[in-house]
Amino acid sequence: MSTATSPTPTAAEGSGTDSSNPGLKNVTLYRLLSIAGVFVAWEIAGMVPISVAFPTFSDTILAFVEMTADGRMISAYAETLKPLAVGVFISGFFGIAIGVGMGLNRLFQWMWEPIFVVLQASPVAALIPLITYAYGIGLTAKTVAVIILAAPIIVLNTYKAVRNASPNLIQMSRSFQGTRLQEVMKVIIPNAAPVIFAGLRLGVAAGFIGVILAELLITPTGIGDIISYHRSVAEYAHMYAAVFSIIVFSAVMIGLLEKVETNYFRPEKKKGQ
């Protein structure tokens, strides 16, 4: 049984400016070069007529700019973010509550741990088509899709964080005659906060997948609609632009959440200690 606190170790962040090794001063340059290289390769590959469904990089960017300019992109994301926000909020609220309960009470843990571990490891996306039958095709259905994907990871992260709260600090609290309530509120929860927040971040990522799948499978709205529509009328550049925007959007969103996490919860990491 595992919880992720991040999609694991990130590779070599912060080796950008290494004055002790002049060769590495240009890391950012090389990274940019590699990005440029990929785009160039994409451009060339698109021009080779292997598949009609593979637009060039420039066509994709043009389509992207066009859709942003006429506001389609923005309104699409606004539409998509609605069920995402609501779903993450609900999953977060109940998920953290259940996780804390599991972390503090053995019986509660016994009841809920196996089911959430199963849900976390299973492809719950398979259930998305079923959601329509219970919740129709509107905002509710998509919110439910977000919840079933986001909740397990939030619960498990919270539970692990609370259960593994520093025994040292708990003992310290007891040595100063802290009550159980004081222990939970003043020590355990703050101690678990960074990992709980990491769980929320992962929940957002998972929920995002849920809402897009719901848009592709249930009813087209938002960004999912842009993908489906342009695929159906064979305007591949636009379709690719939409997919590309999702990748970029996700990276930015998760990156922002990570910044919040580091600055607010782990100041010691920020200072590079």
């Binding site: 060769g23 809920w112 398979a126 379709m239």
Partner: protein, 251 residues
């Protein structure tokens, strides 16, 4: 938890949930949720249907091929990242982006490019699992104490010998953890692929069942997939357990 003095392992709480499922089904509280017993009944029937066999075999083959590619590719990338700083800074950036990106959004693109058959499934499996395998391998390689490599060199090991006799085994616990995660992600990827392309293999079955309100069959198929994911990840977990004995004491 203990009952009458006997310790009941956590997994048994699932029985309570299953019982709940049965009750909800029998009382017909939600029409999408038939009783667990009828789902199980359908499961056995499903397992014997020829169309299921073809669909499952196709998917399984593609899954296996994809996992092999992802494992070999991921471990290679992870090792390169771990041993070469320049490669790490560049490759690392890409691996990180793809590991946390919503890959499901790429599936429609894959379908366009690779058609609706086995190739797409293989590509999906590779795409979903290779990044996490690479990242975990990288972590494993970083964990290896430099003195282990120095020891190998001092006894005259060639590059390949060092890799295959020392480094690979030293990083194995993390590699296995990565493979387990990769496996789970790959299954999710396949399911998503199948859902979006509901014209072949399992996707077609899913579509048929849900279109025809055959919820018992639908849940049966879902259960099979869930169990498959769990069984395979437990197998890798068992392997991880086997190498656990030295994982903690690696200097």
């Amino acid at each position: 938890m203990t009952l009458f003095g006997y310790r009941i392992p956590p997994a048994y709480s699932l029985l309570i949930w299953i019982a709940l499922w049965e009750v909800v089904g029998r009382l017909e509280l939600a029409f999408i949720l038939p009783p667990f017993s009828s789902v199980v009944e359908q499961l056995f029937i499903l397992l014997q249907r020829p169309d299921f066999h073809t669909a499952a075999l196709l998917t399984l083959k593609a899954f296996a091929i994809g996992m092999v590619i992802a494992i070999i590719g991921g471990i290679t990338i992870g090792f390169i990242m771990g041993r070469n700083r320049m490669a790490n800074s560049i490759l690392g950036m890409w691996v990180n982006i793809f590991a946390s990106a919503p890959l499901s959004s790429l599936v429609p693109v894959l379908m366009l490019l690779f058609g609706l058959g086995q190739t797409t499934i293989i590509v999906t499996v590779v795409l979903f699992s290779i990044w996490i395998i690479a990242l975990d391998t990288y972590a494993g390689v970083r964990h290896i104490s430099p003195s282990l490599s120095e020891m190998g060199h001092s006894f005259g090991a060639s590059r390949w010998q060092l890799l295959s006799k020392v480094l690979f085994w030293a990083a194995l616990p993390e590699i296995l953890a990565g493979v387990r995660m990769g496996l789970i992600r790959a299954v999710k990827g396949i399911v998503i692929g199948q859902l979006l392309v509901s014209v072949v293999a399992l996707g077609r079955l899913f579509r048929t069942f849900s279109d025809n309100f055959q919820f018992e069959e639908f849940w049966a198929l879902t259960l099979i997939l869930f169990v498959f994911a769990l069984v395979f990840s437990s197998l890798v977990g068992w392997l991880e357990h086997k190498v656990e004995y030295y994982a903690g004491s690696r200097i």
